[in-house]
Amino acid sequence: MIRLENISKSFEKNEVLKGISVEFDEACTNLVIGQSGSGKTVLLKCLIGMLEPDSGDIWYGEDRFTALDPDQQRTFRQQMGVVFQGGALFDSMTVEENIRLPMDFFTDWPREQKLDRVNFCLGRVQLPGSNKLLPAELSGGMKKRVAIARAIALNPKYLFCDEPNSGLDPQTAIVIDNLIHEITLEFNITTVINTHDMNSVMEIGDKILFLSDGLTCWEGTREEILRSDNKVLNDFVFASELMKKFK
């Protein structure tokens, strides 16, 4: 479980987060939605310690993450898997080396076991056999999937994905969504996903947090989202004709 208490973050005069409090549960796909620029990425970066919140606390279970010093935070992050919005693959390394890096650092597995694990992860994201490719040789969607494979390489307890399926075709997007959902349940991961994809919201949103204006504007489940009468939320969710029909 991850608990945020009153997290705020500003960049000079720009107040991006103005006191967010929320709980993300275990074995649960938590979605953070909101307009472009609403601060989803900033919130995620605060969660993983890449940005320091101006005030507020972040708890991982019984551990107060915000009270740890940078070295302790780094060690703590060995339990996290993170998929960045741009993928952030190491471009001097092949796909296999990218996925193997955390194993090289934090396990004493023999070579074959690491390779097995790499192939398993690549299989999960439907990219078997792409071991020897370099990131520059991958399409945008393939990069995303390799990034996911790398994030789940060491069975993280916490998984964070920033727009895991933006730039993917609808079919692959659903595959990725379901993949993340499955491993979340399978390994009891606490997963937090930033997205603007309403499809994902309807498919896998166990818990949904809607950010607007730096505040939690609405939170609930995907069933509740259809029935909500929150004006701002409805404007966001039912922006497209398709979703209006859906309602």
Binding site: K45, I48, G49, M50, D71, R74, T75, F76, R77, Q78, M80, V82, F84, Q85, G86, A88, L89, F90, D91, L101, P102, D104, F105, F106
Partner: protein, 246 residues
């Protein structure tokens, strides 16, 4: 104030580089890669520059100091000292600061702006140590070797010109470059160049590591990296020379 601030940040960065490497095996492998990438790939440019400088220096010496009262082998002797004391260490390292410094800073800067450094940190890896320590060890090993190579090739350049330009006989040249040879000066040059290697790597990595924004900023960082590496090479050259020879 700005300078003190940067200096403090730089010192924190350097301590981060040296804080507890996680897995020695990974670092060991990286060091060899870096020696190859940064050092071996510089042999060509070092050879060409040193060869031509060796040739030119001995012509200058003969032209400016050639005098019936001074034995001709003195020209070779002075050429050797120019190479050993300043050219092959300081000037060569200034050139390497341009080539290797910009390479290091743009590589690390690009990793910063594409969030690859954040990705390392989120895996729990000490990104500064992982990215910089192998480069630093590699450079500190390989730079003194490049410097010794430069002295050797420079002397060959000088030798070829002395013979082909009839400046002196081969025997005079050999006598000159052996005249009053003091191995302490070679030690001085080796220590100096190892120090320069440290400065080039740490300063360039520092500017790359703290790049923010996009490609434009990476370019700006590598310009700053090269300028400051050069200035610090010159300052530390003075200090080391004062301490070891003053």
């Amino acid at each position: 104030m700005g300078i003190l601030n940067s200096l403090g940040k730089y010192i924190v960065f350097v301590t981060k580089i040296f804080s507890k490497p996680e897995k020695h095996k990974i670092y060991f492998r990286q060091v060899f890669k870096e020696i190859d990438k940064l050092g071996v790939s510089s042999i060509g440019i070092v050879a060409i520059i040193s060869f031509f400088i060796g040739m030119v220096v001995i012509i200058h010496m003969t032209f400016n100091m050639g005098n019936p009262l001074i034995p001709t082998y003195y020209m070779a002797y002075i050429t050797r000292d120019v190479l050993v004391l300043e050219f092959s260490s300081t000037v060569l390292c200034l050139i390497l600061a341009g080539k290797i410094g910009s390479n290091i800073s743009s590589e690390i800067g690009t990793m910063r702006v594409t969030e690859q450094i954040d990705a390392l940190e989120t895996m729990g890896i000490n990104s500064a140590a992982y990215l910089v320590l192998p480069k630093m060890i590699g450079m500190v090993i390989v730079t003194p070797i490049l410097v010794l190579l430069s002295i050797f090739i420079g002397l060959i350049g000088g030798w070829i010109v002395s013979l082909s330009g009839h400046l002196m006989t081969g025997a005079d040249y050999i006598q000159g470059i052996r005249h009053g040879f003091d191995s302490y000066l070679v030690l001085y040059t080796v220590i100096k160049s190892a120090m320069f290697a440290f400065l080039i790597t740490s300063i360039s990595a520092f500017y790359g590591y703290y790049s923010k924004g996009g490609a434009l900023d990476v370019g700006r960082s590598s310009t700053l990296a090269v300028s400051y590496s050069m200035i610090m090479i010159l300052v530390s050259n003075y200090l080391i020379t004062q301490i070891m020879l003053g």
